[in-house]
């Protein structure tokens, strides 16, 4: 059985890649994808730990796995809203370059 360290390390790598993507890229679609990457890195860590700690006080425990479902649901909703926003932004600005969407500055 693969030790949990590996999973965690992979998860950390994925999360870092996702975070970098969010910070570096200007295309919101890519950013969304990077966010998905970060979420899924978290999911990986969840399931990895869920698997390693199956018993909690002698009882079977599926907290990690259940949490992953929640994350997937929230991510789906987020993407749906985010893509709808993108469509609307594109309709008004004919452009979705994220560095030009700074009209909410103080």
């Amino acid at each position: 059985m693969v030790p949990v360290n590996y999973y965690v390390a992979l998860s950390a790598v994925l999360f870092s890649i996702g975070a970098l993507g969010v910070l570096i890229r200007r295309n919101p679609l890519i950013i969304f994808m990077s966010i998905e990457l970060m979420l899924n890195a978290a999911n990986l860590a969840f399931v990895a730990f869920g698997r390693s700690f199956e018993l909690q006080g002698g009882q079977p425990f599926f907290g990690g796995q259940i949490f992953v479902f929640f994350v997937i649901a929230v991510a789906a909703a987020e993407v749906a809203v985010g893509l709808a926003l993108l469509v609307e932004i594109f309709k008004t600005k004919k452009n979705i370059n994220i560095d030009e969407l700074n009209s909410l500055k103080g």
Binding site: V22, L23, I98
Partner: protein
């Protein structure tokens, strides 16, 4: 003191009506006067005064029933503070009853006369609405005078004293917005103010006397004061001297003696009935009454008595000389009044109280008669003037000239104003006003002291007393009597004899019955008044009557030498006056025949010896200057400019501008508030740079925050 306890018979319970009867008349006229006719107003007022007379008669009768015993009728509690206890008590004795009879008797006659007089006066002055007001003031005067003569303490007397002063003021200034010739001016109200202020000087003396009295004698009540006075006169005679002399100042104010007589001639600005009632017959005798009432105090200090007598005699002579040089018919009588008041004051000063009171009574009769007759003369001329002007205006109509609505007025606007009181405008009135002429003759003979008129008996009694005790006073009074006869003779010749010196005098008309009938009553009293106290054994009626109050004195018999001298002087004076004014009657525009032989002396008489000017130079102008100095320098420049503007306002300005505004407010509070604002601004300006709108930088900061927190959690 209750009726049932002390008095078995008599009408003493009516005493309050002395005051309340005139007050009732006043109230009725005050409330309904606007709706009443003139006749009703006059009747109400006269009845009110007449009721007071009836009460006076009943009281005098009661006093005689009571064998001259004094009765005190307590009406109300007045002041009770500590040991001071003053009540409104009526004091009814032979002295106050005599005064009541004179005041209400003469007063009632003058009320009746005034119905006729004011009827025309208000029309000549185009102010008919003032008729009721006049009678209200007259009734108020009677009430105040009654309080004065019936008071049982010096304070109650003072209430009346001030009350009559007020009425005098109101009535002198009755035509307050015009002068005596009805031209718009403040002359009359100035005369009223002069009278009031001069009287204040006297009242000040009276008040000081009252304070001294209370301090050293412990009371204001007559009997208590008289009881306490002898002991104080023993231990501290100067107290009594001070009281009597301060009281003399009050007497000089009210009774028009030197040096405070100056108000009385000006008081002639009032309507003539007022001159007769207040400024000749009654109010001005209040001072004489006061001295008589205080006889018990005055007799303790002969030196004060002597001063009183000298003041009286000096006034008598001084005023008589001024009367010689006057042209206004009322001014002559005014100075004559001052002079006669001088006789009375001299008499009471010498201790001849009965003689003083006797002269007071007869003088009230014949001086009221003279004044009212003078009023009749003035109105007669006024009528003649208007009738003539009317006539002339009618002629103008015939010639087709401009129409005039008010002939009198129209003429006054064109030519100079006609003065109906100036004796130089009169002459020959004997024929046009015969009734007034004969009445005036009676009054003149009584005043001049011709046998057997009332003035002869009363004046002679004073002269006799003076000749026995004070020779210098006797001669002053005798010479004053000579002048009296002279100026009255001059007046008679100028007014009633010779040729009419103006159209008005030519057309003068006799006065109506309502005016002449009261005059006839007064004339009868002037003829018979001497019978009150004839200088024969068994005829000293007034002496006996007043003796109940003042202590019995032996009546003096007639002294033929004194009577002879005064009669001779009077007759001589009349002859001289005939020689100067009767033999060659004055022509129109002619100067007074005395002017040439007497020269500057007559100029002095004409100008009242420049006493008014002297007062102006000595007192009034320095006073005005002092007031101007106080107002301008002290009040305005020092107090207002310096103290208020510089010191107070400056300090305040400095405090608010420099200390509070500049330092505390601007540099402290403002600076702190501004710093708060600036700091907030600076912070927000720097903070807003973070809020740049780039979503990636937000994300970076979120990440950095997470890293920081995690780092802290891991490495703590």
């Amino acid at each position: 003191m209750h009726l049932s306890e002390t008095v078995s018979s008599g009408f003493f319970f009516l005493a309050p009506w002395l005051v309340f009867a005139p007050l009732t008349g006043l109230l009725i006229n005050a409330i309904f006067g606007k709706r009443f006719s003139e006749r009703t107003i006059g009747t109400v007022a006269s009845l009110a005064s007449g009721a007071a007379f009836v009460v006076s008669v009943l009281l005098a009768y009661s006093v005689s029933l009571n064998h001259g015993e004094m009765v005190r009728w307590r009406l109300a509690e007045w002041i009770h503070i500590g040991s001071l206890s003053l009540d409104w008590t009526f004091r009814i004795d032979s002295l106050s009853a005599t005064m009541m009879l004179v005041v209400s008797g003469v007063g009632t006659l003058i009320h009746i006369y005034a119905i006729g007089y004011m009827h025309e006066d208000v029309r000549f002055k185009h102010e008919e609405g003032r008729f009721a007001r006049f009678f209200m003031f007259l009734n108020l005067f009677i009430a105040a005078m009654m309080i004065l003569v019936s008071g049982d303490s010096y304070m109650m007397l003072f209430v009346g004293w001030e009350g009559v002063g007020l009425c005098s003021f109101l009535l002198i200034g009755f035509w307050y917005e015009m002068d005596t010739l009805a031209r718009p001016s403040w002359a009359n109200s100035n005369a009223a103010k002069k009278a009031f202020i001069t009287n204040r000087v006297g009242d000040f003396g009276f008040l000081i006397a009252g304070f001294l009295m209370f301090w050293y004698l412990g009371s204001f009540q007559f009997d208590e004061v008289f009881k306490a006075a002898p002991a104080v006169a023993e231990s501290a005679p100067w107290v009594i001297v001070a009281i009597t002399l301060f009281m003399l100042i009050g007497v000089a104010g009210k009774s028009a003696q030197i040096p405070l007589y100056i108000w009385l001639p000006d008081a002639m600005a009032g309507p003539t009935p007022v001159s007769a009632l207040i400024h000749a017959a009654t109010m001005v005798t209040a001072g004489v009454y006061l001295v008589t009432r205080s006889a018990s105090i005055y007799t303790l200090v002969p030196q004060a008595q002597y001063i009183v007598a000298m003041v009286g005699a000096g006034t008598a002579l001084f005023a008589a000389t001024i009367a010689v040089g006057q042209y206004d018919i009322k001014k002559v009588l005014a100075y004559s009044t001052i002079s006669q008041l001088g006789f009375m004051v001299a008499a009471v000063g010498m201790g001849a109280y009965v003689a003083g009171m006797f002269h007071l009574i007869t003088h009230a009769f014949f001086k009221a008669l003279l004044f009212l007759s003078a009023g009749s003369v003035i109105l007669g001329l006024e009528r003649g003037h208007h009738a003539h002007a009317h006539h002339a205006a009618h002629d103008d109509h015939g010639k087709g000239k401009k129409k005039k609505d008010d002939h009198g007025h129209a003429e006054e606007e064109h030519g100079e104003v006609f003065d109906p009181g100036d004796m130089r405008n009169m002459g020959g009135l004997r024929k046009t006003m015969p009734v007034t002429f004969w009445l005036y003759i009676i009054g003149t003979l009584a005043l001049a002291g011709i046998f057997p008129f009332a003035g002869f008996w009363s004046k002679d009694e004073i002269l006799l007393d003076a000749s026995l005790h004070f020779t210098s006073i006797y001669w002053q009074l005798a010479i004053a009597a000579f002048f009296t006869a002279f100026y009255m003779g001059r007046q008679i010749w100028m007014v009633f004899f010779g040729e009419a010196r103006s159209d008005a005098a030519k057309h003068a008309q006799e006065s109506p019955k309502v005016m002449t009938v009261p005059l006839m009553v007064l004339a009868a009293l002037s003829v018979l008044g001497g019978a009150l106290n004839l200088p024969f054994e068994g005829f000293h009626n007034l002496g006996h009557w007043l003796g109940h109050t003042l202590g019995e004195v032996e009546g003096l018999p007639l002294d033929l030498k004194v009577a002879g001298i005064s009669t001779a002087l009077a007759l001589l004076a009349i002859v001289i006056s005939w020689f100067l004014y009767g033999r060659n009657p004055l022509k129109t525009g002619q100067i007074d025949p005395l002017k040439k032989p007497l020269g500057f002396v007559f100029t002095g008489m004409e100008n009242k010896w420049f006493v008014d000017e002297g007062y102006f130079a000595l007192i009034i102008n320095p006073f005005k200057k002092a007031s101007a100095f106080l107002a301008d320098v002290i009040d305005w420049r020092f107090w207002h400019d310096f103290v208020h503007d510089t010191v107070i306002l400056g300090t305040y300005n400095w405090l608010s501008e420099i200390a509070l505004n500049k330092y505390a407010d601007q540099k402290g509070i403002d600076a702190f508030a501004n710093w708060l604002g600036t700091a907030t601004q600076w912070i927000s300006e720097n903070m807003r740079k973070i809020q740049n709108g780039f979503v990636r930088s937000y994300a970076l900061s979120v990440m950095l925050g997470v890293v920081l927190i995690l780092g802290y959690l891991i490495f703590k």
